[in-house]
Amino acid sequence: MFSKFDVIETIEMIEKEHLDIRTVTMGISLLSCIRASAKETAQAVYDLVCRKAERLVPTADALSGEYGIPIVNKRVSVTPVSLITAAFPSESALVGAALDRAAKQLGIDFLGGYSALVHKGTADYEEQFLATIPEVLASTERLCSSVNVGSSKSGINMDAVRTMGEIVLKTAQLTKEQDGLGCAKLVVFCNAVEDNPFMAGAFHGVGEADTVINVGVSGPGVVQHALKFIPDADLTDAAELIKRTAFKITRAGQLIAKEAAKRLGARFGIVDLSLAPTPARGDSVAHILEELGLEVVGCHGTTAALAMLNDAVKKGGVMASSRVGGLSGAFIPVSEDIGMIESATAGAITLEKLEAMTCVCSVGLDMIAIPGDTPATTISAIIADEAAIGMVNNKTTAVRVIPAPSKKVGDEVSFGGLLGRAPVMPVHTGDGGKFIRRGGLIPAPIHSFKN
């Protein structure tokens, strides 16, 4: 049973502190859609996705009404498309366009899975698939793409890292009228997970069941608000409070995930225990760190505060959910977090500090605008650094940078909505080109040999 104070607390979390279910994502296997031609495959993909996810939006809206908690995004993730189009890779765009049409038909904002897994080597069909990414992202609206270039078990495919630097740059150039928006829909991973419900990096792994519901929760505002009540507590007590708060947030996600799966005739996959910010004030991960006692996010102490926050969120969340997965941790996207935007605009946080922060939290260098004239090899080098952090530390890392066309340090890019806005941040101008051009595979670290 619960008390009237519990009722009031939940209502205040939802109405004043931005507690919401960030996404209900349906994972759909496309393996049964492979046909003899790209055209037939595209049609089969469109039909299957529209049929499986037909009731996703109305069901999520009904759940939101019954439980009185907003479900912000309804999304779909699919099997990496490179596997579906392996027999006709140069025509992969047809499947991409079909998925984009399906997303519009379903009324969902993003569909993820225009993806390839090349962490140990790039097959010929994958090479051709990767080449289609820039034009597909420029010609579609809601389709998201991700590429896994490394893993703790396999090492880092530096040939793919080199290619991805060029693809990121080309994607920005093809979407230059929108400040390089295409790059906001493209993630380069190390240790990508197969059950991530969050975009742009969601795809439905081949080890997954046929149709799965994965849920991402949110609630940085709730954590920040809770911490306001203990301004002088030591960090042990602060961690404990974050843990308890994360428990409550996650329980709401677990409830919605199980109920959504039941109503949609899908399996309950996982709850992703995440603190996902939005550009709205009062919904910022950066502001939690500042609430803990940092003058501005990015100053010395930020990495330690984030490590504590990330760990406490996981501990509370694991206790609350029977099935945990996805990325699970605090997200630190620059353009999607008002505290990060302000700190970056003031020059108080740098790319190097963000890189350090990614060692201790979920994901990686996310939604960061860099100068439009950044060389492809420098973007590749940024990807390589981030992948190395993921590989050595057995965690997922990712890069989603936007080389904003014609923009320089100090300019701003604006994507609107949840994608937010970001100042263009400086990158190191030293040249890592020769290192990138060497190619090959960075071998897996010694501690990966656990068999």
Partner: protein, 89 residues
């Protein structure tokens, strides 16, 4: 279905009467009722059983919200499971 009905706003005459007449007319049973303060506002919290309701749950919630708007109050009807889930281990 067990649900929680909350009514918040500035205190005034007839809030409980208005809401409970509506519930009576739609065969929704009030199991418990209490009141407290939410920020600087009056808050009434009812535990209700909607299993014999004459209208669907979603419609019930919609009509109660509209009823609230007429009397200048915010009315929410939520499935009780969300509170159970968030506040019990």
């Amino acid at each position: 279905m067990r649900a929680v009905l909350t009514v918040t706003g500035s205190d005034r005459c007839g809030i409980i009467a208005t809401v409970s007449v509506y519930l009576y007319e739609h065969k929704v049973n009030i199991e418990d009722i209490s009141q407290t303060i939410l920020g600087d506002q009056f808050a009434m919290i009812m535990m209700v059983d909607t299993s014999r309701s004459t209208v669907e749950f979603a419609q019930l919630g919609k009509e109660l919200t509209e009823l609230g708007e007429k009397i200048g109050m915010t009315v929410r009807l939520q499935h009780a499971d969300i509170f159970d889930a968030m506040h019990n281990v």
